[in-house]
């Protein structure tokens, strides 16, 4: 019978033996060495019946299918764009996934659709094993982001900024009357009159995501400035 040595949400680090036995399965952030299941990263243990995984507390954003990300156009190629998505890999946006109508690439310069330095909100279509990330604009939410400013946060703090069912980001939107889009890759786009205040609120969440009563602290910050 398999034994489990850690508790739910216990802090673990590389080399920590989480469980022993062939009937326990290694999930994300873990690996198997013989009978033992061992953590690969610093994170919190997660036990789901026989599956043990580790939720990482640090690390780069790794793109996965279906994620909404904010990217910056880095280069324009004849039929596609290279997009910086704040990850170890460059995103690739193919012409067919970006523009609805037929484009004759021999006659048009596709930089008229997206040019270097422009910011987009796109969806991750597919990630190949060797790290080719294809993006798509064929999504109701996908669009070009005009103006505004970008704030970079640690990718694993993104759920904190969004809050439960979007409660945190909705609060900031309402109080500062800014447009805010949070990319899964840790880039936040803010546009509106009160950009500075919204930025402060988001950086506060990133810095103090561990404290109790964060929501109250954020509303205080937002109220205090408005009065």
């Amino acid at each position: 019978m398999g034994q489990i040595f850690v508790q739910e949400r216990e802090l673990v680090m590389p080399g920590k033996v989480l469980a022993r036995g062939m009937d326990v399965l290694p999930g994300n952030g873990t690996y198997r060495d013989g009978e033992e299941i061992i953590s690969k990263v610093i994170g919190l243990a997660k036990i789901k019946e026989r599956l043990i995984s580790v939720i990482p507390l640090a690390g780069k954003y790794m793109p996965k299918h279906g994620d909404g990300v904010i990217g910056i156009i880095e280069d324009v190629q004849p039929t596609f764009w290279n997009v910086d998505i704040n990850s170890p890999y460059m995103g690739i946006l193919l012409l067919g996934e970006a523009v609805k109508e037929y484009v004759d690439v021999t006659k048009t310069d596709i930089s008229k659709y997206y040019d270097i330095g422009e910011v987009i909100y796109a969806r991750v279509l597919n990630v190949s094993r060797s790290g080719i990330v294809s993006l798509s604009m064929r999504d109701p939410k996908a669009k070009k982001l005009h103006g505004g400013k970008l704030v970079r946060i640690t990718p694993y703090k993104v759920p904190r900024v969004i809050g439960k069912e979007g409660s945190m980001v909705e609060l900031i939107k309402e109080k500062t009357r800014c447009q805010i889009i949070v990319g899964q890759n840790g880039i936040v786009w803010i546009k509106g009159e009160n950009e500075a205040l919204a930025t402060r609120a988001i950086l506060l969440i990133e810095r103090e995501s561990h404290i109790l009563g964060l929501t109250e602290k954020i509303s205080k910050l937002l109220e205090g400035e408005e009065v």
């Binding site: 949400r9 216990e10 802090l11 680090m13 590389p14 080399g15 033996v17 952030g29 690996y31 060495d33 061992i38 690969k40 990263v41 610093i42 919190l44 939720i55 990482p56 507390l57 640090a58 690390g59 780069k60 170890p88 890999y89 460059m90 094993r129 060797s130 790290g131 995501s209 561990h210 404290i211 109790l212």
Partner: protein
Amino acid sequence: MKRNRPEKLIIDGKRLDGRAPEEMREIEAKIKVLSRADGSAMFRFGNSIAIAAVYGPRPMFPKHLQDPEKTIVNFRYNMAPFSTEERVKPGTSRRSVEISKILKEALSEVIFLEEFPRTGIDVYVEMLQSDGSTRCAALNAAALALADAGVPMRDLVAACSVGKVDGEIVLDVNGKEDNYGEVDMPVAIIPREGRVVLLQMDGILSKEEFEKCLELAKKGCERVYEVQKECIKKAYAFEAIKEGEE
């Protein structure tokens, strides 16, 4: 240099800095010491201080060095000009190239290289102060910085040095003992598996002495490993508390 040699390196069973032969110097470890790096750490053995910074995994350039099957680890060990008694000439030297290479190979043993094809991980280690066992301090700091950067690893790497001074086997060699002693032997292990990933020896040991040295070094590495784990726990404990309450 030779004329500065102290008469004896071990007097009444005590070493120059007052330690017993099998006693280590004070160890200190800290992570998140640099804000711009993806992961960073400081590691100290007595007066030897190493600071490590890790960037990546990030797209690997120049492109022809990319490997479609694994990530490339780029390691730089560097001594600050002011780190020793005599000024170190800035820039790469024969010594720093060698140390960079062996430390890179030691770390490549624990990193899951195949998880990030076509990327590179940059590890920079600066020695701010050097007093013996610098490559061990550098490796310990680099392992902590990699873990802090969230790079998937089999385990941390723990390193410490052993040596022979005035005919006695000693643990954690300091600068003077390194210069005037008979043997200096840095050892690094993967603590959980007990596998040796770095072993160099400068001097001559008999087979029995070598075995005794290795045994002692492993004990020293265990000590280092405990300090490394403590340091990670301290830096990340507050995250665990909050997450646990939701």
